[in-house]
């Protein structure tokens, strides 16, 4: 089977890859931290987060710090599995095309 079939369309964009990478190694990351990390606009980030959330890749937790809202994002079990498969597919492609 062509390994390209295992590549998940959901992770096609660099922004989504960035979000997933950050969430893989942190328990929870808030909106502003992601924004700083990826250096993108609010709207752009929000739309990618929404797409990942709708596919049950990440979960959203709306909390408060004092009076300010603090929305944090974390990876779901399913999301972790899907993302790992995506990385493995990338690795396979590198090996097969060397």
């Amino acid at each position: 089977m062509n390994p390209i079939n295992n590549l998940n369309k959901l992770f096609d964009s660099r922004v989504r890859l960035g979000i997933m990478s950050a969430l893989m190694v942190n328990d929870a990351v808030n909106f502003n931290e992601l924004k700083e990390l990826l250096e993108i606009t609010d709207g752009n980030l929000a739309s990618h987060l929404k797409a990942l959330e709708e596919n049950n890749i990440i979960k959203v937790n709306k909390g408060f710090i004092g009076r300010k809202t603090n929305t944090t994002y974390a990876i779901t079990k399913a999301g972790e599995k899907v993302f790992k498969a995506h990385i493995e597919a990338l690795e396979k492609m590198i090996r097969s095309t060397k």
Partner: protein, 212 residues
């Protein structure tokens, strides 16, 4: 661009993002070098007091109260404090400049996590060493500094550039050898905090910052 290159670049992107979001990577090699130089200057200033060429106490007529206040009446205490803050401030400046260049905020989540984890062994060690001073066990202070600092660095290595772990191992080795030669603490202290810092900082600068 071939498929191979594209996949490789994506994987490298992922790795970079993982590191950037979980480790404080702005720590500059120049910070290590500057801290090492401060330590060597501090050791040089302390030398005549440690080896008895100059009086230890600032005001020799002052009454001796038992307790920690006696420390404040020694030149060594103020040299040590000055060295510590000089090293801290110069190290901060170089790391601040590096974080600015890379566009990473200096006071982010990763910096807080690093600082917290480095502080635990250092604060515990500091309290323990103060207690040693109170009991007059001066010979164990230098090896104690090296050992606790080494442990702090190993603990820190999970939250910043991983190579700092080897600096930690080396500090512990120097500290342990110092335990066999109690009384020569200043030499070992200068070796650990001075020479090792400079070697480590030079290596890190050469590896990560030279080309930038």
């Amino acid at each position: 661009m071939t498929e191979h290159d594209q996949s490789l670049e994506t994987l490298q992107d992922i790795k970079r993002m993982m590191e950037r979001s979980s480790r404080f990577i702005s720590l500059s090699g120049l910070s290590g070098i500057s801290a090492g130089i401060c330590a060597l200057i501090g050791a040089w200033l302390a030398y005549p007091y440690v080896f008895g060429c100059r009086p230890l106490f600032i005001d020799i007529h002052k009454d001796f109260h038992p307790g920690i206040e006696v420390l404040f009446n020694t030149w060594l205490f103020w040299i040590a404090a000055g060295t510590f803050f000089a090293a801290l401030i110069t190290a901060f400046i170089f790391t601040y400049l590096k974080s600015k260049k890379e566009g990473i905020p200096i006071w982010g989540k990763t910096a807080k996590r690093l600082l917290f984890n480095v502080s635990i062994p250092l604060i515990v060690g500091g309290i323990f060493l103060l207690k040693l001073l109170q009991f007059g066990t001066f010979g164990l202070v230098a090896p104690g500094c090296l050992l606790f600092y080494g442990l702090a660095l190993i603990n820190a290595s999970k939250y910043t550039l991983d190579e700092i772990r080897y600096l930690g191992y080396c500090q512990i080795i120097v500290g342990l050898i110092n335990l066999l030669f109690v009384g020569y603490g200043l030499y070992f202290w200068a070796l650990g905090f001075g020479v090792l810092h400079i070697l480590y900082g030079t290596y890190m600068w050469y590896k990560y910052e030279r080309s930038e």
